[in-house]
């Protein structure tokens, strides 16, 4: 197979980043409204969004600011809201070539979001840093600018546009997990089981007190561990 050039990986990343950018733009407005309620200026909120690139984490942070809670509480809240990124980054570490330069690891680590993790995992073979940077180049401005504008003027889009754009992010998740499921029955079964258990978790009132971030972690660890135990992957499976 011919190696693609860095520039073409970058542009492919930009293309895959476009739906992320639009979805972020729509979702970030509501984050901006939360930031405004916490008393932040547009620039402060935009900076926070640019530096964190996190939806649940952002909300959690702005809630802490609104309550003027302690700095320790801020650190703990952010840790809980974003802990799933520990798992995603660990998984992504296996998608990087072992000899990749250290500064690429530091840069890629800046923006491991649900959506960007998804598209990075979906590229064939090892992840080229240029692809990730292409995605970042459109996704990060979408998030930061959306938050900034959300503080400044509330929601610019009508509810029907926000509704449509926010579902686009889930459409991406579907586009990422379905093609491998077609080739691998274990993955297909895992997706069905994951969705069923996630639905059950959301429906049982007993679990209402658990934050959605923690629910995602618990389900991911339990289901993936069970799958790894019963269906360990063959040595060459993820080398493709």
């Amino acid at each position: 197979m011919m190696e693609k050039k860095n520039s073409s990986w970058f542009f492919k990343g930009m293309r895959d980043g476009m739906p992320i950018c639009l979805g972020y733009l729509a979702v970030a407005f509501t984050l901006g409204i939360a930031a405004k309620n916490a008393g932040l200026t547009p620039l402060q909120a935009g900076t926070a969004a640019f530096l964190t690139n996190a939806s649940a984490g952002g909300y959690a942070g702005f809630t802490v600011i609104a309550e003027q809670a302690s700095y320790i509480e801020m650190a703990v809240m952010i840790l809980i809201a974003n802990a799933r990124y520990l798992l995603m980054s660990a998984s992504l570490s296996q998608k990087l070539a072992p000899d990749i330069k250290w500064y690429h690891r530091l840069l890629i680590g800046f923006d491991v979001t649900d959506e960007i993790f998804g598209v990075c995992i979906a590229v064939p073979g090892k992840l080229k840093p240029a692809y990730a940077y292409g995605v970042f180049s459109v996704a990060i401005p979408g998030w930061a600018v959306g938050t900034y504008l959300g503080v400044m003027m509330g929601n610019l889009f009508s509810p029907s546009i926000v509704s449509a754009l926010s579902v686009g992010l889930y459409g991406m998740f579907i586009a990422i997990i379905i093609p491998p499921a077609k080739k691998d029955r274990v993955i297909a079964a895992l997706i069905i089981i994951s969705m069923a258990l996630s639905y059950a978790f959301a429906a049982v009132p007993l679990f209402d007190g658990i934050s959605s971030g923690i629910k995602v972690i618990i389900l991911t660890v339990v289901i993936s561990a069970a799958a790894a135990y019963f269906f360990p992957v063959k040595e060459d499976r993820d080398a493709a």
């Binding site: 895959d16 476009m18 739906p19 008393g39 932040l40 402060q44 926070a48 530096l51 964190t52 942070g61 802490v64 600011i65 302690s70 700095y71 801020m74 952010i78 974003n82 799933r84 995603m88 980054s89 660990a90 570490s93 296996q94 250290w102 690891r105 890629i108 680590g109 800046f110 491991v112 649900d114 598209v119 979906a122 029907s160 509704s163 449509a164 754009l165 926010s166 579902v167 992010l169 889930y170 459409g171 991406m172 998740f173 579907i174 586009a175 990422i176 997990i177 093609p179 997706i191 969705m195 258990l197 389900l219 991911t220 289901i223 993936s224 799958a227 790894a228 360990p232 992957v233 993820d238």
Partner: protein, 102 residues
């Protein structure tokens, strides 16, 4: 005691960054343990599936438009359509359906 908003933002940024960058920098090279390799191999599919459903039903103004987007997305992805096509189709389905039913 009055807290400084910039210190708050700095804590948000630093904690978030550490969570993301530590696994990427500490786990160098390929993990050889078969169980761990398999676990990390399955994580993306499980976690994205868990985050998609049932959340997609509540991301929209109507459960039915969310469900329609899910079905259309799965069918198009199964037929091998690109990421962008699937994402845009999901948006269009929701937008059109909500014009009709909400």
């Amino acid at each position: 005691m009055q807290h400084n908003v910039y210190i708050y933002i700095a804590i948000m940024a630093v904690v978030t960054y550490l969570i993301r960058v530590l696994p990427l920098t500490l786990i160098r090279g390929e993990i050889t343990n078969r169980f761990l390799r398999s676990f990390l191999y399955y994580v993306p599919y499980v976690t994205l599936a868990v985050m998609t459903f049932p959340a997609i039903l509540h991301a929209t103004n109507s459960i039915w438009s969310g469900l329609a987007a899910l079905v259309v997305g799965v069918v198009l992805a199964w037929l091998g359509q690109s990421l962008l096509t699937v994402a845009v189709a999901a948006c269009v389905v929701v937008y059109v359906l909500e014009l009709l039913i909400v």
